[in-house]
Amino acid sequence: MHIADGIIPNLWCGAAHGVSWTAMYWLGRRIETDEVVRLGMLASASFAISLIHFPLGATSVHLGLYGLAGILAGKRAFPVIFAALLFQTILFQHGGLLSLGLNAANMGTGALLASLLWRSRLGPQTLRAFLCGFIGVLTPALLIALEFSLTGYGKGFWFMAALYLGAASIEGALTVAIVAFLRRARPALLAERA
């Protein structure tokens, strides 16, 4: 869910821009060019994958891959998500320029929580991979519901967030499959970067 412009008050959008740009500079500092190129390619691949609709019964879902970004890019997942959201705003009108900071904060928080969880080494890797995918989707949904209820939209978005439990579970299962493949094919990619 990308929040469009004109929906959330300007004050909230301004504050979120401040937080997101600060995080963007802070988490993107002292980065080497080879790493930026990898992050750019990771953002491209994630975005290409997110455009693929995955058939599920009578409907279809698509992935966000915020949890996987947290696993693969660590704290650099925030700049990746910020850039990907700006790209989608510019090219597809998904979201808006004023709400970009809010969208980045919502989705970036999911990725950063996933990154922390992955690096915590708590529990088996498969369970952690599932939870990373799960919270990568559910955290933004809950944050959006919170923001909408605090800005006068009532409780409707909490029901939407509840619907996201299904999407978060599918994302978690797919993250497990992706991590299982990478563990076999290139374990170094899953090395726990800061």
Partner: protein
């Protein structure tokens, strides 16, 4: 009047659109009268560019699902005028953003972001996404065709594993491609930032356009009775 908007410095175009969207979005909830004036001014602004009306309409429609949901929920909570206000703000913002992207190539937007001191990491990732998203999408389509040639269609829970492995394979290939691309960039003298394609200057005319446009949009916000 044609193309006035496109002749502006890209930074001026971005600042104009951000200022106008912020003014429109700051209209108090349930106040609808200024929107007729906003719409007339937005159409005038569109006429100063060469943006296609059909393209802009399609782009605005892309914003519809979330806007309709938010407007519906707000209408239930605070009444129809509040919902209508959010709908008007959202569509006007989508129209103006679509106009910006229709009249400004991504290379110019990237240049403007760089000149406005956006971090290099943002610029490079955006540039790479523009270059490689389609390419990697086509690579995935080739992987899918190859799988379809060799196997039956995946069914049931098995499909999660199969799709997951394919997605993992695409990420692996993109990671390997990144190393090759980086080596090629270094060989061409890459120093950590994209070279500027077109040098533009921010002139007094650009500043005047921003101030005049913002003032025109601010007038109905301040003076049209509620």
């Amino acid at each position: 009047m044609n193309r006035i908007f496109q002749r502006l410095d890209p930074r001026a175009r971005i600042l104009t659109i951000v200022a106008v969207i912020a003014i429109v979005a700051s209209t108090p909830p349930a106040v609808l009268r200024p929107f007729a004036a906003y719409a007339a001014l937005a159409i005038l602004l569109v006429l100063t560019s060469r943006a296609s009306g059909f393209y802009l309409t399609l782009r605005c429609l892309a914003a519809s699902p979330f806007l309709l949901l938010a407007a519906g929920l707000l209408a239930l909570e605070r009444g129809a005028p509040a919902g209508a206000s959010v709908l008007c703000k959202g569509y006007l913002a989508a129209l103006l953003l679509a106009m910006l992207t229709a009249t400004t190539p991504l290379s110019e937007l990237l240049w403007a972001l760089r000149e406005m001191r956006a971090p290099h990491v943002l610029n490079i990732i955006l540039g790479m996404m523009y270059r490689y998203t389609n390419l990697l999408g086509e690579e995935y389509a080739r992987m899918e065709r190859a799988r379809n040639c060799r196997t039956v269609r995946p069914l049931g829970w098995n499909r999660i594993s199969i799709y997951g492995h394919q997605f993992g394979n695409l990420i692996l290939r993109s990671w390997d491609r990144a190393d090759r691309v980086h080596a090629a960039m270094l060989s061409r003298g890459f120093t950590g930032a994209w070279p500027a394609i077109a040098q533009r200057r921010f002139t007094a005319r650009d500043a005047a356009f921003i101030v005049l446009t913002a003032a025109l949009f601010l007038a109905p916000r301040l003076f049209v009775p509620r």
